[in-house]
C-alpha cells in the first residue's frame, strides 16, 4: 500500500515543469480575477443597462446597449470633467517632476544626519489625500487662511481662493503637487543612488563644472527613473478625486472625471450611466498603462 503523502509527492513529481508552474499560479490568478477582472467585467456589464435606484430600473435593469456611452459623448458635463482632468494632468505631472527632482537632489546631498531629510520627504507621501485636501482648504480659506494672511500682511487684498474658479484651479494644483512630489522624489532618489560616483569624479577630472555634470551625467542616467515616475504620476493624476473634493466642501464647481462618476453613481443613484462614465475613465487609464508596459518591455530589450 502506498502512503497518501508519498502519493502526493509522486504526483507532484510527475508534473512537467510547465504544469507545475500552472498550478502554482492558479491561486494568484484566482485572486486577481476576483479583485480586478470580476469588478471590471461587472462594471462593463452594468454600463450597458439603464439602472437608476430612483425608479423601477433599480431592481429590474433595462438593457440599452451603448446608449449610455452615446449619452456621455453629448454630455457637456462629461467633456468639462474630462478637460478639467486633463488640465490637472498637464499641470501637476510636470510640476511634481520638477519639485520632486529638486527634493531628490537635495536629499541626495551628503548630509551628516540623513533621517530628517528623508522623513521630510516621506511625510507628505504618507499623509492621506483627503487630509491634504482639508489642510489646504484651510490654508486657502479667505478669512482664516494662512495664504491670505501673508497676502494681507504684504499689503494685498484678500482673495476668494476656494470660490473663484481660476484661483481654485491653481490652489488645487499646488496642493496636488505638494502631495505628490514626495512620491516622485522617492523614486528619483533611488535612481540617483545607483549612478556610479566614479562618473562624477572623472567628469571633475576632465574639468566639467557642476551644471555640466548635472546635464551630461545626472539627467541622462536618471531618465529611466523619471519616466517611471512620470507614468505612475500620470495614472494617478487621471484619477484625481480626493483633493479637489475636500477643498470644495464636496461641491463641484471644479469637477474631475472621478468626481463626476461619484456624483452620478453614489449621489444621483444612476448606476448605469455612472458605470459608463467609469468605463470611459478605465479606458483612459488602460491606454496610459499600455504606454507604460510598452516602455518597460522596451527597457528589457
Amino acid at each position: 500500500m502506498i502512503q497518501p503523502q508519498s502519493r502526493i509527492r509522486r504526483s507532484l513529481g510527475d508534473l512537467s515543469e510547465r504544469a507545475l508552474a500552472f498550478w502554482l499560479l492558479v491561486p494568484a490568478a484566482l485572486l486577481l480575477g476576483l479583485v480586478a477582472l470580476y469588478p471590471v467585467g461587472r462594471l462593463l456589464y452594468t454600463s450597458l443597462f439603464r439602472r437608476r435606484l430612483t425608479d423601477e430600473t433599480g431592481n429590474s435593469p433595462v438593457f440599452v446597449g451603448l446608449d449610455n456611452f452615446v449619452q456621455a459623448f453629448s454630455d457637456e458635463r462629461f467633456w468639462t470633467a474630462l478637460w478639467n482632468t486633463l488640465l490637472i494632468v498637464l499641470v501637476t505631472v510636470p510640476g511634481a517632476l520638477v519639485v520632486g527632482l529638486g527634493l531628490a537632489l537635495l536629499a541626495n546631498l551628503p548630509f551628516r544626519v540623513k533621517w530628517p531629510v528623508r522623513l521630510g520627504l516621506l511625510l507628505p507621501w504618507a499623509l492621506p489625500l483627503v487630509f491634504a485636501g482639508l489642510i489646504f482648504r484651510w490654508f486657502f480659506d479667505s478669512q482664516y487662511g494662512v495664504i491670505n494672511d501673508v497676502i494681507v500682511r504684504l499689503g494685498g487684498e484678500r482673495l476668494l481662493w476656494v470660490t473663484t474658479p481660476e484661483l481654485l484651479f491653481w490652489a488645487i494644483c499646488l496642493s496636488i503637487i505638494w502631495k505628490s512630489s514626495s512620491f516622485v522624489a522617492l523614486i528619483l532618489l533611488a535612481g540617483l543612488q545607483v549612478i556610479p560616483r566614479e562618473l562624477y569624479e572623472s567628469a571633475a577630472v576632465d574639468g566639467a563644472n557642476r551644471w555640466q555634470s548635472f546635464w551630461r551625467i545626472t539627467l541622462p542616467l536618471l531618465l529611466p527613473a523619471i519616466l517611471v515616475a512620470a507614468i505612475f504620476r500620470t495614472i494617478t493624476a487621471f484619477q484625481t478625486f480626493d483633493i479637489p473634493f475636500a477643498m470644495q466642501n464636496g461641491g463641484s464647481s471644479f469637477e474631475t472625471l472621478a468626481m463626476y462618476v461619484r456624483t452620478m453613481s453614489i449621489e444621483n443613484l444612476n448606476f448605469g450611466y455612472g458605470s459608463a462614465l467609469a468605463v470611459l475613465m478605465f479606458l483612459i487609464s488602460f491606454v496610459v498603462t499600455l504606454v507604460y508596459l510598452r516602455y518597460v518591455r522596451g527597457a528589457d530589450d
Binding site: T54, G58, S142, Q143, L160, T163, G251, E267, N268
Partner: protein
C-alpha cells in the same frame, strides 16, 4: 480538518445562544447627539430585556450620511435595522425599495389615528404614494438668531421684515466699527442647507418648485429674484463677500464666537449657543421666526428627521416596535430637553419642562406649522445638486443671478421631465 469542524460547531452554538436576544442596529448621524440617543436606547433596553440596541454613528451632514448609507443599502447589507433619515429622503427610499413600509404593521384606522397626532407637515412628508415610509423623530425649521445684547444697545426690536434686519445690521456694523463683526449670516456653501437659502425667497413670493398637482412650476423670474436677494445682501455689505464658503455649521460656530449680528439656521444652534463651553454669546442670543420679505409673506424651510426600517433588516417586526417607541411623545420630550430638538407633537410645545430649557419653543410652533417642505421626488439628490451648486456659484459671482436662474429652471425641468 477535524479541529476546523469543531471550531465551526462552537461558532454555530454560540451564535444560536446570542440569537436568543434580538440585536437591533440603529444608524444616526454625528450631529444627531449620539449621547442622547444612547440614553434613549438604554431606556428602551431596560423596558425590553430581550432586545439589545446597538448605535452606529455616521458622518456629520445629511449628504455624508446618505453617501455611506447608499453603499450599505445598494448592496442589500442587512447589518443596519433602523435609520434616521432626513425629511427630504422618504420618496427616494420608497422608490429604491430601501424602506420596509410600516403599513403592514398598522391597520388603516390606527395608522390614521397615529398620523393625526403628529404635526401635519410630518405625516405628509412620510406618506409617499399612500405608503407610510417612516415615522417622525424630531421636527426642525429655520429661524433667525440675533444678538439680543447688540439689538438692545441700539434700541432695536427683533426684525419682522428683511428690510428691517438689513437696516439694523447696517446701523450696528457702522456704530460698532468692529472688523470681526458681520451682519447677516446665511448658508451659502454647496451643501444641502443652501437649497433652503434658495427656496426661502421663492416661497415668500408665493412660488414653489412644483404646484399642488406636483408639476414643475418654478419660473426663471422667481428664481432670479431669489438669487438676487442674497447677492444683494453682499452688495449692501451686510453680508461679507465670502458667503459662498459658508456651510451652516461655520455660521453657527462664528456666531458662537460673537462674529455675527444675525444668523439664519436650524433649531440645533440654540443648544450650542447656550450650552457649549466655548460659547462667547451665552444668554445673549435671541431667536425669532425668519423675517418676512417685501409683500409681507414669511417662510421657513422645513427640516426634521425620520425613523425608517431598512428593507434588508432581519428583525423587521422588532425594529418596527422600536421605531414606534422612538417616534413617541416620551422620546420627543427627551430629545427636546436634552438636545433642543423641536417636538413632532404640537402639545409638547406647551410642556413646562421643555419650555424651562427652551423658552423660545413657545414661539416656534407657528413657525414649524407654517414651514414649507423642499420638493418630494425620488430624484431629490439631483434636484438638490442643481439648486445648491448653482446658488453657490451665483454667490461666488461665477454666474449672474439671471444665468443661475435660467440654469436652475432648465435643469430642474429636465429632471421633472424624466430625462
Amino acid at each position: 480538518m477535524r479541529k476546523l469542524f469543531w471550531l465551526l460547531v462552537a461558532v454555530l452554538v454560540m451564535s444560536a445562544a446570542l440569537a436568543q436576544q434580538t440585536r437591533l442596529r440603529v444608524f444616526v448621524g454625528g450631529q444627531q447627539r449620539p449621547d442622547v440617543m444612547r440614553k434613549i436606547f438604554d431606556l428602551y433596553q431596560s423596558k425590553n430585556p430581550g432586545v439589545r440596541v446597538d448605535l452606529e454613528v455616521g458622518g456629520a451632514t445629511s449628504d455624508q450620511q446618505q453617501q455611506y448609507l447608499t453603499t450599505v443599502l445598494a448592496s442589500r447589507d442587512p447589518s443596519i435595522d433602523i435609520i434616521l433619515i432626513d425629511v427630504i429622503r422618504p420618496a427616494q427610499y420608497l422608490a429604491s425599495r430601501w424602506a420596509d413600509t410600516l403599513d403592514k404593521y398598522l391597520p388603516a384606522a390606527s395608522r390614521q389615528n397615529l398620523l393625526r397626532q403628529y404635526l401635519p407637515a410630518y405625516s405628509q412628508a412620510n406618506v409617499i404614494n399612500g405608503q407610510l415610509v417612516a415615522l417622525p423623530g424630531f421636527a426642525d425649521a429655520m429661524f433667525l438668531y440675533y444678538r439680543a445684547d447688540l439689538l438692545e444697545k441700539y434700541g432695536f426690536r427683533p426684525p419682522t421684515t428683511w428690510d428691517e434686519a438689513i437696516q439694523q445690521a447696517q446701523t450696528i456694523l457702522q456704530r460698532e466699527n468692529n472688523p470681526n463683526l458681520n451682519g447677516i449670516g446665511f448658508i451659502g456653501a454647496p451643501a444641502e442647507g443652501t437649497v433652503c437659502t434658495f427656496l426661502l425667497p421663492v416661497w415668500a413670493a408665493g412660488g414653489d418648485v412644483t404646484n399642488a398637482q406636483g408639476q414643475f412650476s418654478l419660473t426663471v423670474e422667481q428664481a432670479q429674484r431669489a438669487l438676487q436677494f442674497w447677492v444683494g445682501l453682499m452688495d449692501q455689505r451686510v453680508s461679507p463677500p465670502n458667503m459662498a464658503e459658508k456651510p451652516q455649521d461655520t455660521i453657527r460656530s462664528e456666531m458662537q464666537a460673537g462674529r455675527w449680528v444675525f444668523g439664519t439656521m436650524f433649531a440645533y444652534a440654540w443648544n450650542r449657543f447656550q450650552n457649549d463651553a466655548d460659547s462667547q454669546v451665552k444668554g445673549r442670543i435671541g431667536v425669532v421666526p425668519l423675517p418676512a420679505f417685501a409683500g409681507g409673506r414669511q417662510a421657513s424651510c422645513l427640516g426634521g428627521w425620520q425613523w425608517t426600517v431598512s428593507d434588508f433588516s432581519r428583525n423587521k417586526a422588532q425594529a418596527h416596535k422600536l421605531v414606534r417607541f422612538l417616534s413617541s411623545p416620551e422620546v420627543s420630550k427627551i430629545l427636546a430637553i436634552d438636545a433642543s430638538n423641536l417636538p413632532v407633537f404640537p402639545a409638547l410645545y406647551r410642556d413646562p419642562d421643555i419650555l424651562r430649557v427652551n423658552p423660545w419653543f413657545g414661539q416656534a410652533l407657528p413657525v414649524v406649522q407654517a414651514a414649507r417642505a423642499r420638493p418630494q421626488h425620488p430624484r431629490y439628490a439631483e434636484i438638490s445638486e442643481v439648486i445648491r451648486v448653482t446658488t453657490n456659484q451665483v454667490l461666488a459671482r461665477q454666474k449672474t443671478p439671471e444665468q443661475g436662474a435660467r440654469e436652475i429652471v432648465t435643469r430642474l425641468q429636465a429632471i421633472y421631465g424624466g430625462r
